[in-house]
Symmetry: D2
Amino acid sequence: MSRISNTDLQELIDTQLPWVRAMGMTVETMEEGRCRVRLPHRDEHLRPGGTVSGPAMMGLADYAMYVGVLSAIGRVELAVTTNLSINFLRRPQPAAILADCRMIKVGRRLAYGEVFLSAEGAEDEGPVAHVTSTYSIPPDRAD
Amino acid sequence: MSRISNTDLQELIDTQLPWVRAMGMTVETMEEGRCRVRLPHRDEHLRPGGTVSGPAMMGLADYAMYVGVLSAIGRVELAVTTNLSINFLRRPQPAAILADCRMIKVGRRLAYGEVFLSAEGAEDEGPVAHVTSTYSIPPDRAD
Amino acid sequence: MSRISNTDLQELIDTQLPWVRAMGMTVETMEEGRCRVRLPHRDEHLRPGGTVSGPAMMGLADYAMYVGVLSAIGRVELAVTTNLSINFLRRPQPAAILADCRMIKVGRRLAYGEVFLSAEGAEDEGPVAHVTSTYSIPPDRAD
Amino acid sequence: MSRISNTDLQELIDTQLPWVRAMGMTVETMEEGRCRVRLPHRDEHLRPGGTVSGPAMMGLADYAMYVGVLSAIGRVELAVTTNLSINFLRRPQPAAILADCRMIKVGRRLAYGEVFLSAEGAEDEGPVAHVTSTYSIPPDRAD
């Protein structure tokens, strides 16, 4: 079970990460250490030809990691990305993009996970990108 | 001297990368294998508190690498990012962000470089982020 | 089924990668796009306290990726690592280390995969390191 | 000026990192936040053809970062690598390899730097590899 409620997550997004709402991203599923986030298919995220732009995929992966971290450690306001490494593997179909995040290690100071991005409806063609990312957790959180 | 003209670069941006113009980014300097790109200080790039958001910094770095690659190889329409790895080092001041890109290796198939991001007017406080990135160059380009 | 035979793999190791034999590494399982490689517990791989050294784990991961790539594309002599990124997650127990490699994307020019390293007998404590790596495949291979 | 003395560094190597001595690596220069480390040209580090093996270059880069971190923070016994990402750029000449390390950010909990590897006597051909790496600094060090 996720260690952060949907209500608390939504409140953090609204107050801390306005770009998440502006991109139209939604949390599809969330349990402890795992989540799926969806980026809708919108003109503003596209490159000519209908391919989703690199920055839109990076924003999606970063948000999926944020949700993944909070699902594992609970409401922590100051968790910040220290590293994000993305490998682009295929041009995505013109479709919504799904981000499946899984935390690999959640320690006291650092949380590390991976995210697979795939085009909705074309998941069996393989991921369009793979991301690893590290979050730093502030030392004074109550736990 | 850059191997792509400002005019050709601008035409590629307009037709291929509309998100670059939407973010208001501008090329400040460009020579062969090096460039400086600027992201203006705008509300839409910010997190509460005035800090530039991670996705805005990733978009800036990705664009700086794109300009750096084309400055070294000339007009190649299908150069694409294969990897981008960003390390966030400090919370940036509420200011424009400068991206200084330098190509480290430009081969026939792969181009690799690094980008230092710093807050305009606070460059002496050190970079706010460091990026390495690899671009794949299509095999059939004329050169 | 693996696209390279054990015999062909062994011959490549003996002629191309003498450090693999020197480290005592063995391929435990191999199928198309997946493998498990084992690094034995030896004094020369250790740091004081019995922890396996970082370079030994990097050598193990690099070899596991090499086997994973050849299991997917067959005998290609000139496949070379272009990137290897390792995240160290826990100090390993004083034990043999197992490397589980899975290829994520195998294209014509680049192959990309991930490797989880864990201490033999302590796999349920979670991985001691996670690696992503890209191999470049020479353009003129017959396929 | 380096914050660790040559004597203290040597003592740490002898007690903590026996593989450094076994590989024959030496610190050529060291000042605060910068160093140059040298890997001699030896058969055991080579691939057939005389090229230095990937693991030997990774061990060299890891050691150069270790020296770079200690040159900036002083004698800290438990500083450990959390990430090392290496990009291989050219096949090195059959020669000693020089590793030039520069710390980019040294914080209280994390230290981040980069290392350029080049073949001795062929530095003007450009680096053979580029590395970024993060070290974790134990929270209880006195400073």
